[in-house]
Amino acid sequence: MRMLRCLATLFLLMMTVLPLKAATAIADADLTALVNALGAGDFDATEQAIAALAASGDDRVAGILDKLGNGELVTRKADKAVFIGEKADKDFKLTDPVTGADAGIVPKATVDKLKVNNKLRRAIATAVGTLTLRNADPKVRLAAAEAVMKSQDAAAIPALDAAIGAETDAAVKTAMISARAAAVLASDLPDSEKAKAVDTIADLGTRDALGMIAPYAGQAGPIGDAVKAATTAINAKLALWDAGQNIWYGLSLGSVLLLAAIGLAITFGVMGIINMAHGEMVMLGAYATFGVQELIRNNAPELFDYSLLIALPVAFVTAGGVGILIERSIIRWLYGRPLETLLATWGVSLILQQAVRTIFGANNREVGNPSWMSGAFTIGEMQVTWSRLWIIAFAAVVFLSLIGVLKKTALGLQMRAVTANRPMASAMGIRTPFIDALTFGLGSGIAGLAGVALSQIDNVSPNLGRGYIIDSFMVVVFGGVGNLWGTLVGAMTLGVANKFLEPYAGAVLGKILLLVFIILFIQKRPRGLFALKGRAVEA
């Protein structure tokens, strides 16, 4: 770091000499020489070359450094010249980074990729940040301010001062002022300046802010006092947010449990089949997602963001179809003998697992996140990842549509009729075998939908289902067999309870405590939270 700081100081000296306002440009040949230095030696040498490039202040530098950070630069082995390299089949298409001129296509073996490590990535981020503080695009300026803030580089103060003076966008200006405060803390400016900087940062009230000022808590005088006061205030605020965060985590775990269990609530809860192959239906859904993504990757990569939407019906039909097949060939012989369905479906689950292992291999398969499911945003100090948010929303949609199907459609009515009283339903003209197959298919299909969601956060491997089967049964039994609302409440309760136990008891003990709790709970209410009443229960 010290090396970096020295170089940056040097660079600043140069900056003060060079006019700051006007975009600077240096001769192509000089720039080329600087760029070529990137590939001259080891990481330390590259780091110096980055600083030297940044010091040139040329407009093109930021772009070139970006490319370096993305690993798009190569060196030609023959003369160590640096180019932008694009893969073209087995060869590389070279472009001059300075002039943008085409430098021909060369075999892969004649070039070396310019490697970057984390240290270089940080150096690049700082350099690009400082260079783009005056960019025309406010978004770029904001990102630059954030990058500079993260680097806490005292040498950036003059550049920040100049940028703050010229800034018109209020949000960007605030970010720059914070960045300046962070840089001041790292500088050797007088304590009064630093105390002010502490206040500025403390006003942000974030965890990062806390981290930035924390090292100065031990100092005597105004800085230490300011830090201590700020720390107390921020911690109080964070505690509140932490509780919120835990609830959020709990809900998101609960929604995963709900998704995994809701299909089982149909096959087990409504139909009374102890469906041990339920987890494998989830797995089939995940593999269907994999299949869809593979097709899209190979044939229509531009559709990748929609891959999950396309996968939903595919997974539903695949898992549902397999479910109907299982019902027609095996389960229909076993109605009224729930414990035997357990054995048969366990056998089915082994066969499905091994079949998937034989077809797709034992390895994990890659299922990518579409862009709208990647990353996170923050509400105050609470971080919300998009994937979890979408999964919660998805679970809610699936749950409500299922309720809708069961309560509002003719099919749902017939399903409920058959499960309530089979002979009577049959006497009323309902084709009970047909309804059985459809109900089981529906439960399995929903498990397939769960598989689409789970493929986003978990392994897509033949063992995927095994991880969820026990939890799913716990949720359904806890919530009360035969009651979808019970499943919802059960999943959410277990999810939130798990997440509140985890920080104190640890992940394993927390889970054990929950299992013990369920065992005891069943003693108290042998038929779960929301037990069905009436004679049908004994069936």
Binding site: R121, N369, D458, K499, G506
Partner: protein, 429 residues
């Protein structure tokens, strides 16, 4: 051939006898049998299946070169199904029924511990190709994977030097490898002057899938003003959700790098690595190693397996080294009998795939260079650091119970746990 006779003796075994007799007839007499003891089903199949294929591939290559001692090699593959007692049963079956000369197998420590008494009792040879926690040196086992000093400590050194890391999160799955590695690392870091409050150690169960709380804890720990890194000994299945959560919560390698000891090319193949660029792994081999030997190996492997997307990884290289060392030792000893081969193995030197040589040491561990790689967006690793070969240290200097122990299986010491303070060969001797 005793099986066929016991059939006459009593009826219960008849079926067994008939079945095994029919299979035994199929074996020609003039081959050398090589046992392959890797799980092909169950939870460990995900990792071990590749190693089974590797051994078959190596045997195939060797047979093309004319076999060993003028005889062809013949693989005997069994499936211990990720079930630890079954490992012991299958090991016994391989050695006493199929009469294999050597066994390549095991992945988890518990499977190795399970078969160990069998190999000792029946005096056979096991090549164990996976990085492990050390604290073991047995006469009948050759450890071609890394000991903790061949993986963990150099990785931490790299982070301290190159990344200036001051705070450490040691995150692992709760089993013996992470426990030991973290114990060693904790002692090492403290010896390097890292205060206790700057180290947190955390364990999660196998197959842990909901990483939200753990990752946010790491994030909070990393936001306290000092450069922080995570040393991950998270095992197998739990890795994908862990890295997905890291990516989603926006923890970038530039901010909090994660260095992993159990994540290789195979594991990355199941992930979208774009958000993970820059996170690290420490191994003794990467598929991206740029040497002619490696290029040739990968080429032959792709031809054999008929799929040029199949990756190679560190345990494969360890299998490769172990296999070649065994071939060389058998040729030197002129026999496949256990004792002469065990005596011939220490000192045997074979080329590895990263452009150097691996030597079997008297402690039955091997020399390996330590490579640190950064994850790239194509699922490969960019090698950012490579050390000279390091000798595997079976008894860690950083653990209370084992710092006084050494191992040397050459005569006259011939001991796996010699205590240099008491001057005695401990344990069973």
């Amino acid at each position: 051939m005793s099986m066929t006779f016991t059939r006459r003796t009593f009826g219960l075994l008849a079926f067994a006898g008939a079945l095994s007799a029919s299979t035994m007839l199929a074996h020609a007499e003039d081959t050398i049998k090589v046992g392959v003891l890797h799980s092909l089903s169950g939870t460990m199949a995900i990792s071990e299946t590749t190693l089974k294929d590797t051994v078959l591939f190596l045997i195939d290559e060797q047979n093309k070169k004319g076999g060993v001692l003028g005889k062809k090699l013949e693989a005997v593959v069994v499936d211990p199904a990720s079930n630890w007692p079954l490992f012991a049963e299958k090991a016994r079956e391989l050695i006493s029924k199929d009469k294999v000369s050597v066994v390549f197998g095991c992945w988890t420590s518990v499977s190795r511990k399970s078969v160990l008494p069998v190999f000792k009792e029946l005096n056979s040879i096991l090549f164990y190709p996976v990085q492990y926690e050390g604290e073991e040196s047995e006469r009948n086992v050759f450890y071609t994977g890394a000991a903790p000093n061949q993986q963990a400590i150099p990785a931490v050194d790299y982070l301290m030097k190159e990344e200036g890391v001051k705070r450490w999160v040691l995150e692992g799955t709760d089993y013996v490898y992470p426990r030991t590695t973290n114990k060693i690392l904790e002692a090492y870091l403290k010896a390097k002057g890292v205060p206790a409050e700057d180290i947190i150690v955390n364990y999660t169960p196998f197959g842990f899938a909901d990483w939200q709380t753990e990752v946010s804890k790491i994030k909070a720990f990393g936001a306290e003003g000092k450069k922080t890194a995570v040393v991950s000994t998270i095992n197998g299945d739990a890795n994908v959700p862990f890295y997905k959560e890291l990516g989603n919560q926006g923890i970038k390698a530039e901010d909090i790098p994660v260095v992993a000891f159990s994540v290789g090319e195979e594991e990355l193949a199941g992930m979208d690595t774009k958000p993970l660029v820059g996170h690290l792994a420490a191994w003794n081999y990467f598929e991206s190693v740029d040497t002619p030997e490696n290029a040739e190996f990968i080429d032959a492997w792709h031809k054999y397996i008929g799929n040029d997307k199949r990756t190679t990884n560190d345990p494969m290289e360890a299998t490769y080294i172990g296999f070649n060392a065994w071939v060389k030792a058998v040729e030197a000893a002129g026999t496949t009998d256990t004792d002469p081969v065990i005596d011939a193995l220490p000192g045997t030197t074979v080329p590895n795939l990263s452009g150097g040589y691996a030597t079997i040491m008297p402690n039955h561990h091997i020399t390996k260079p330590v490579l640190i790689g950064e994850i790239q967006d194509d699922g490969q690793f960019d090698i950012v650091s490579q050390t000279a070969p390091v000798v595997g240290d079976e008894w860690s200097d950083y653990l209370e119970g084992s710092k006084d122990l050494i191992s040397d299986w050459r005569k006259p010491m011939n001991c796996g746990n010699f205590n240099v303070v008491t001057g005695k060969c401990g344990g069973a001797g």
